[in-house]
C-alpha cells in the first residue's frame, strides 16, 4: 500500500507506528549510531563541550524539561550548526532519520502533556459553544464576536475546543458575568416589549416628486456593484436592530445580470461588526421582482443592504455622478432624469450593463419568541414572580393608579425553578447544597429591597457564571472513574453534534441511566443527525479539521487576482462545508474526501473553476469530468488558497497541510532564519517556485525535511494561490516566457505521479491510513483533547470497523460514539 511506501514522510501521530514499543528499537537503530558517529566525541561522559552531554539524556518526552533539551538538539542539527564544519558530516538520510525521530517523539510528548487529565477534567466551552448553549437554553441570541463580548479562543492546529488550550483568566470571568447578565436580561427583560415591525420603502414620500417629474414610478433603490444602502448612521436607510434576537426578514427585489457577467450579490452587512449575516446571488428580472423571506438571529446594530461585488473606481467623476444623483431611480424606461455624467447602468435595450440589485422593500420584525422558547423560559422562572415591570401609568389628571401589591416570594417554588434551570444549564442535576448558594443570593437581594424579579435574575446570573456552566466537567473528585457517566456522555454527544447542551430528550435518556447502551446511543445519534442543529457540526467540524479559518488570512493581491472578492472567498469555504454536508447526509465513503466525480458549486464558484453556472439557488451538486481536475477536498479552492500567501501558492505549506489534515501528522517545524525565496532577478530566466525550492533542497539540512514534505505540495502546482487551474506559472520579474507548471513528482517508494489527479488516486489507494487519521481528527474534536499513542489502537479499531462497508461517514460516526474511546474518560 502506498502509505507504507510513504513511511518516511508520514509515519506519525496516528497508527500502529506510534506504539510505545517502537521507541527503544528506533532509538537503537537511528539515534544511538548517529550520536556515536557524529556527537559523542564532544558530548559524552568524558567531554562536555558547551556543558552539554548526550549520554545522560532522558527519553521521557512527556517531561517538559527533557523535551526542551531534545528540541535544542533538533535545532542545532537543523540549522547545520552541529556537527561543526570541522567534524565529519552526516549524510542527508541519516540527518533526516534523526530529525524525524526527535520530532515524532516531541509530538507524542506534547500530546501526552496536552491530554493529561486529573480526577476531574475541565473543558471550557468555546465561545461558539457558549453562544449555542444560551441559544438552546433560553432562546437568546448572544453574539460572542461583538467587541467586548467573549475573548477569541486559541486554536490548536485548527481546533478551537481543546481543553488544555482553553484556559481561564480573570478577564474571562469578568466577561462571563457581563454575558450572563445580558443573556438573563434578554430572556427575562425588566420591561416587556412586543416584537417591532419596521419597513424600508424607497417609494415612501416620493409621490409628489414622481408627479413633478412626470414619472410613473415607483421609486426603487438601485444598488450597483459595491453600492450599499445604510451605514453606521441610524438615519442612513439601513436596517436598525435595537435588540438582538430572532428576526423575520422579507425582501422584495430584482437582480439583473449583464450578459456573460456575474450575478448581483446581496449581502446584509452588520456595519458595526463588519460581518455579513446573509449572502445570496439574486436573479430576477426588473419587472418581476422576487420576495425572499426567512428568519434568522441578528445582533444589535445597523445593517446595510449591499450589492457585494467589486465596484467602480470611487475616485472617478463618473462614480461621483452616480452618488451625487439627486434623482431617484424608478425603472430602466425612465432614465431621462438620471444624472448623465454618472456611469451608464442600463444599455439602450434596458439590459443591465453591470450586475444590479433593485430593492423595493425590506420588512423586518422581531425579536421573535417562539412557543418553544417561551416554554423554556417559563420553565426557568417561578410563576409567583412577575417577569416584567407593570407598564408605565398613563399621564393624566386624577389619582395615580397604585401598582398591584407584590406577592411574597414563594421560596419553595423558586427553589424548584432554580433546580430546573440548573439541570439544563449545567447539563446535570444540581445538588440542594449547590442551589442553596443561589437561594442565598436571591434572599440577600430581596433583603436589600430589590424586587423578587431582580433577585431571581441575580440567581440566574449566578448559575450562568458558575464553572458548572462554562466548563464541561468529566470525572469525580471522590472516585477515579475510567468512564464518563451518562450526564457527561450526553454532553459529549450533544457538544460533538450540536456544539451545544443536550436537549430534553437526551437529558431524559441520561437521567434514565441507559445512555451507555450502544443501541440507545445509536438511536440518539440517528435522532440528533436528523435534527436541524446538526448544521452546527457541519459548520464547525470541517472548519476546525481542515483549518478553514486560514482561508483569506492573506488577502490575495488584487492586481494578481482582480476577480477575487469576499463572496468568492466565502463561497470557497461554503463549498467545502456543503461537500462535507453531502457526504454526511448521503452517507458517502470517506474516500470521497480524497477523490470524487462531483462537488458542490454555486454561481460564484463555478466560473472560478471554469465550469458552467449550476441551475438553482445556492450550492448545487455538480457532476465533474476528469478534465475538470476537481473532486474531493484537496482540489477545492478553499484548501488550495488557505495554503497560499495571497500572492503565490506555497507548495511546502500545501504539503504540510496535507500531512496534518489528511494524515494527522505534523511535520518538523522549519529551522529559524530560513532565507525567504527571492523574486527572480530581472536578468535571469523566470523560475517557478518549485524550481526555486528545489534549489533549497540541495542543502543537506533543508533536503532532510523538504524531500518528504514537498511532493505533497508539488502535486497541486497546477492550482494558483486562489485555487484556479493553470498550465503555466505567472512569474513576476525575470526574463522570457512564464514557465510551464510541473506538478509531477515521485513518492519515496519511487511511484511517479504527473499531477493532482494521479496523486489523489495514490492517496485513495491507501484509504485505511486516511480513515484512521480522520477518526483521530474526529476524536480530537469530540473529546476536546489531543490524541496520544495510547489512543492509537482504539482509533485504528474504530476505523477498521467501517472498512468492510467502504468507510461510510455515518458508520464511522456511529462506531466512534459507541466506541470505548468515546465512553472513557
Amino acid at each position: 500500500m502506498m502509505w507504507r511506501l510513504l513511511a518516511v514522510i508520514a509515519i506519525a501521530a496516528a497508527g500502529a507506528d506510534l506504539a510505545p514499543a517502537a521507541v527503544p528499537a528506533a532509538f537503537e537503530a537511528v539515534v544511538a549510531p548517529f550520536f556515536r558517529t557524529y556527537c559523542d566525541r564532544c558530548h559524552d561522559g568524558k567531554v562536555q563541550e558547551g556543558e552539554f552531554r548526550l549520554d545522560t539524556l532522558s527519553r521521557d518526552f512527556t517531561l517538559q524539561a527533557e523535551a526542551e533539551r531534545w528540541s535544542e538538539i533538533r535545532f542545532r542539527l537543523n540549522t547545520g550548526e552541529m556537527p561543526p564544519k570541522s567534524e565529519p558530516q552526516p549524510k542527508a538520510e541519516e540527518l533526516a532519520a534523526l530529525v524525524e525521530w526527535i520530532s515524532t517523539r516531541l509530538t507524542e510528548g506534547e500530546a501526552a502533556r496536552l491530554a493529561k487529565r486529573g480526577p476531574i477534567a475541565h473543558y471550557r466551552l468555546s465561545r461558539e459553544e457558549y453562544a449555542n448553549t444560551v441559544q438552546d437554553l433560553l432562546g437568546v441570541h448572544y453574539d460572542p464576536t461583538v467587541p467586548g463580548s467573549l475573548n477569541e479562543d486559541p486554536r490548536w492546529h485548527g481546533f478551537e475546543r481543546i481543553g488544555s488550550v482553553l484556559t481561564l483568566s480573570p478577564s474571562h470571568v469578568e466577561r462571563y458575568l457581563k454575558a450572563a447578565e445580558e443573556v438573563v436580561e434578554s430572556a427575562f427583560p425588566e420591561q416587556a416589549a412586543a416584537p417591532k415591525q419596521s419597513l424600508f420603502d424607497p417609494n415612501k414620500g416620493k409621490e409628489k416628486w414622481l408627479e413633478e417629474q412626470g414619472l410613473k414610478g415607483p421609486v426603487r433603490t438601485l444598488l450597483w456593484p459595491n453600492r450599499r444602502v445604510g451605514n453606521a448612521n441610524a438615519w442612513s436607510g439601513g436596517m436598525v436592530i435595537d435588540k438582538p434576537g430572532s428576526y423575520r426578514l422579507r425582501i422584495r427585489l430584482s437582480g439583473m445580470r449583464p450578459p456573460g457577467g456575474r450575478l448581483p450579490h446581496l449581502t446584509i452587512w452588520n456595519t458595526q461588526l463588519r460581518t455579513s449575516v446573509y449572502d445570496a446571488d439574486i436573479l430576477a428580472t426588473e419587472d418581476e421582482p422576487i420576495t425572499l423571506e426567512w428568519t434568522q438571529p441578528l445582533s444589535a446594530g445597523i445593517y446595510a443592504f449591499w450589492n457585494n461585488l467589486p465596484g467602480f473606481d470611487e475616485k472617478s467623476t463618473a462614480f461621483n455622478g452616480l452618488i451625487s444623483r439627486r434623482n431617484n431611480f424608478t425603472n430602466s424606461r425612465e432614465v431621462g432624469h438620471l444624472n448623465p455624467t454618472g456611469f451608464k447602468l442600463f444599455d439602450d435595450d434596458r439590459q443591465a450593463i453591470y450586475p444590479l440589485l433593485i430593492l423595493d422593500t425590506v420588512e423586518w420584525e422581531g425579536p421573535l419568541v417562539s412557543e418553544e422558547v417561551r416554554n423554556k423560559r417559563a420553565g426557568a422562572w417561578p410563576r409567583s414572580v412577575a417577569v416584567s415591570l407593570p407598564l408605565p401609568q398613563p399621564k393624566g389628571k386624577g389619582t395615580p393608579i397604585e401598582p398591584p401589591p407584590v406577592p411574597p416570594l414563594d421560596l419553595k417554588e423558586t427553589r424548584a425553578s432554580l433546580h430546573r434551570f440548573a439541570l439544563h444549564a449545567w447539563r446535570r442535576p444540581a445538588t440542594d447544597s449547590e442551589i442553596d448558594r443561589y437561594v442565598k443570593v436571591l434572599e440577600s437581594e430581596v433583603a436589600r429591597g430589590e424586587s423578587s424579579a431582580v433577585a431571581y435574575r441575580a440567581a440566574l446570573v449566578g448559575i450562568l457564571t458558575s464553572k458548572n456552566f462554562f466548563y464541561l466537567e468529566e470525572g469525580s473528585a471522590d472516585e477515579r472513574r475510567e468512564q464518563v457517566n451518562d450526564w457527561e456522555l450526553a454532553s459529549r454527544l450533544s457538544y460533538l453534534l450540536w456544539g451545544s447542551m443536550p436537549d430534553d430528550t437526551l437529558l431524559a435518556v441520561a437521567a434514565a441511566g441507559n445512555l451507555h447502551d450502544p443501541a440507545v446511543i445509536r438511536g440518539q445519534l440517528a435522532r440528533m443527525l436528523a435534527d436541524e442543529k446538526i448544521a452546527r457540526f457541519i459548520d464547525s467540524f470541517p472548519q476546525q479539521w481542515l483549518q478553514l479559518h486560514r482561508v483569506g488570512t492573506f488577502a490575495p493581491d488584487p492586481l494578481l487576482y482582480p476577480a477575487y472578492d469576499a463572496w468568492l472567498e466565502r463561497s470557497m469555504v461554503l463549498e467545502t462545508k456543503a461537500y462535507f454536508e453531502t457526504v454526511l447526509r448521503e452517507n458517502r465513503s470517506l474516500r470521497e474526501f480524497l477523490i470524487s466525480d462531483w462537488t458542490m458549486l454555486n454561481a460564484r464558484l463555478a466560473p472560478h473553476y471554469g465550469l458552467p453556472i449550476p441551475e438553482g439557488q445556492g450550492f448545487q451538486k455538480v457532476k465533474l469530468r476528469p478534465d475538470d481536475h476537481r473532486g474531493g477536498l484537496l482540489t477545492q479552492a478553499s484548501i488550495l488558497s488557505l495554503s497560499s500567501d495571497g500572492t503565490r501558492h506555497r507548495p511546502v505549506h500545501r504539503g504540510v497541510w496535507v500531512s496534518e489534515a489528511i494524515f494527522g501528522r505534523t511535520p518538523p517545524p522549519p529551522p529559524p532564519n530560513v532565507e525567504p525565496l527571492e523574486p527572480t532577478p530581472v536578468n535571469e530566466p523566470k523560475a517557478t517556485i518549485r524550481q526555486q525550492l528545489e534549489g533549497h533542497a540541495t542543502h543537506t539540512v533543508c533536503a532532510s525535511c523538504h524531500r518528504t514534505i514537498d511532493p505533497l505540495g508539488f502535486a497541486f502546482d497546477h492550482f494558483d494561490a486562489v485555487g484556479a487551474w493553470r498550465t503555466e506559472e505567472q512569474v513576476n520579474g525575470g526574463k522570457g516566457a512564464n514557465p510551464p507548471v510541473n506538478a509531477a513528482g515521485v513518492l519515496p517508494d519511487g511511484r511517479p505521479f504527473s499531477g493532482s489527479d494521479e496523486f489523489k488516486v495514490l492517496l485513495a489507494a491507501d484509504l485505511d491510513r486516511f480513515a484512521e487519521a480522520f477518526v483521530g481528527q474526529l476524536a480530537t474534536f469530540a473529546l476536546r483533547r489531543v490524541m496520544t499513542v495510547d489512543d492509537a489502537p482504539q482509533i485504528k479499531a474504530i476505523a477498521a470497523a467501517a472498512k468492510a462497508d467502504g468507510y461510510p461517514l455515518r458508520a464511522v460516526l456511529e462506531n466512534f460514539v459507541t466506541s470505548q474511546l468515546f465512553l472513557q474518560r
Binding site: 449583464p258 444623483r325 444624472n339 448623465p340 455624467t341 454618472g342 456611469f343 451608464k344 439602450d348
Partner: protein, 362 residues
C-alpha cells in the same frame, strides 16, 4: 408663402411648415418654421432662451397689447450675428433679430398646453436666429441707399425680391448714435452716400408699431462687412474651443462591461475649420450635455476614446454639420444614449473648468 404652399394649406387645412414638431435625433426638413422678427428684449444666454418684441405690422392694437414672443434655441439651432456663427450672448439686447421657430419637442395640439400670452405663438423653439446683417446676407440680399434725408435713409433691397422681412423700398431711421462702419474703421454719417450697397442692423424706433426701425449699424463697404464677420467668427471659435462642439448621439453599440462605441453627429453652426480639426484628431473626448448645450464639469466628467471612424455627408440636412464620428468608450456614461446631446473635444481644444454660472450643477 408661395401659391403652391397656399393651395396646400387650403387643401389640407394645415401648413406643414408651421406644424412641424421636432424630434430628438432628427434634423428638421428644409424650410420649416414660423417667421418671427423683432427686437431682442430679454436674454438668458446660458440657457439659450430669450424674447422678441415682434416688429409692428401696422396693427397698433397688437403692438400695444401683445406680450413679447419668447423663444428657446433648439440644440442644433443656427445663430448668426454679423455674418458669422454666434451665440446668443454675442448679440446685444435691442438688436432686431429674425427667427424661424417650430413647436417644442413632443408638442401635440390635442394635449392641454400652458396658457400663452396675448398674441404669443406656440411655435417658440427657434431653429434659426439671425441679425439683419446675417439674415439678408444668407439670402443674397442687401440694401442700396437711394437718398438721404435728415434722420432718414431711403433704401431699396437688392437681390431676390421675395422672402420674409421688410424688402423693396424702405425708410430706416438713423442719427448720430448710428455706427457707420467703413473699411476697418468707424466712420460718420458723412460716409453714407446714395448709391452705396450697405448692410444694416436695427433696433426699436418710434412708430415701431407702424413698422419703423432704427439703424444701429451700417456697413458701407465690403471690407467693413468682412472685418465684422471675421471678428465674430473668431469670437465664436474661441467660445467653442472652450465649450466644445455640440452634437447628438445617433447610436451606442454596447460591447458589455460598460464599453461601447458611440456615434455622434455634430451640429452645424461652428466655423468649418473646427470640423476639420475633428477629422484629423486622434482622440475625441465626449461630455454629456443637455438641450441647452450646457455641460456639468466637461473637463472632468467626460470620457475619451480614439477616433475610430469619420463619416461625412456632402449635403447634410439643416442643423447637421455633415460630420458623424464613431468613438469607442471604455466607460459609458448615463448621458450616452441615442438622441442625447453631447459636446465633443478634438485634440487641441482646452479642457478647463467653465465659470460656475455656465455649468449644470446637480
Amino acid at each position: 408663402m408661395n401659391f403652391l404652399s397656399l393651395a396646400l394649406v387650403l387643401a389640407l387645412g394645415a401648413d406643414p411648415r408651421l406644424d412641424y414638431v421636432p424630434k430628438l435625433g432628427e434634423f428638421p426638413p428644409a424650410g420649416v418654421g414660423m417667421y418671427h422678427a423683432g427686437e431682442l428684449v430679454e436674454i438668458d444666454a446660458i440657457n439659450r432662451r430669450g424674447a422678441l418684441r415682434i416688429v409692428g405690422n401696422l396693427d397698433l392694437e397688437k403692438y400695444h397689447s401683445s406680450e413679447s414672443q419668447p423663444f428657446v434655441l433648439l440644440p442644433y439651432a443656427m445663430v448668426r450675428y454679423r455674418g458669422a456663427p454666434a451665440e446668443l450672448r454675442d448679440i446685444p439686447i435691442g438688436t432686431v433679430l429674425h427667427a424661424y421657430c417650430v413647436y417644442p419637442v413632443g408638442y401635440s395640439k390635442t394635449q392641454k398646453q400652458p396658457r400663452l400670452g396675448l398674441y404669443v405663438e406656440p411655435q417658440d423653439h427657434a431653429i434659426t436666429l439671425e441679425d439683419s446683417f446675417s439674415f439678408y446676407e444668407r439670402r443674397g440680399q442687401a440694401w442700396k441707399i437711394e437718398s438721404i434725408e435728415p434722420g432718414k435713409l431711403n433704401v431699396i433691397s437688392t437681390g431676390p425680391a421675395e422672402g420674409d422681412g421688410p424688402l423693396g423700398k424702405q425708410m430706416f431711421n438713423f442719427d448720430v448714435s448710428t455706427r457707420v462702419w467703413k473699411g476697418k474703421q468707424i466712420g460718420t454719417a458723412a460716409d453714407l452716400a446714395p448709391g452705396q450697397i450697405v448692410k444694416f442692423n436695427f433696433t426699436w424706433a418710434a412708430d415701431w408699431g407702424l413698422g419703423r426701425m432704427h439703424a444701429t449699424d451700417v456697413w458701407v463697404d465690403e471690407e467693413s462687412r468682412s472685418t465684422a464677420a471675421e471678428l465674430q467668427r473668431q469670437v465664436h471659435i474661441r467660445y467653442l474651443r472652450y465649450h466644445w462642439l455640440p452634437g447628438w448621439i445617433d447610436q451606442v453599440e454596447d460591447q458589455g462591461g460598460g464599453k461601447g462605441i458611440v456615434t455622434v453627429t455634430l451640429f452645424d453652426n461652428g466655423d468649418a475649420s473646427l470640423y476639420e480639426q475633428v477629422k484629423s484628431s486622434s482622440k475625441i473626448t465626449i461630455a454629456a450635455s443637455d438641450p441647452t448645450l450646457r455641460t456639468w464639469l466637461h473637463a472632468y466628467d467626460s470620457k475619451s476614446g480614439p477616433l475610430l471612424e469619420v463619416k461625412t455627408i456632402p449635403q447634410p440636412p439643416f442643423g447637421h454639420s455633415g460630420l458623424t464620428i464613431r468613438v469607442p468608450i471604455t466607460e459609458l456614461l448615463e448621458g450616452f444614449r441615442p438622441g442625447r446631446i453631447v459636446r465633443i473635444r478634438p485634440d487641441g481644444f482646452p479642457a478647463v473648468k467653465l465659470p460656475p454660472e455656465e455649468r449644470i450643477r446637480s
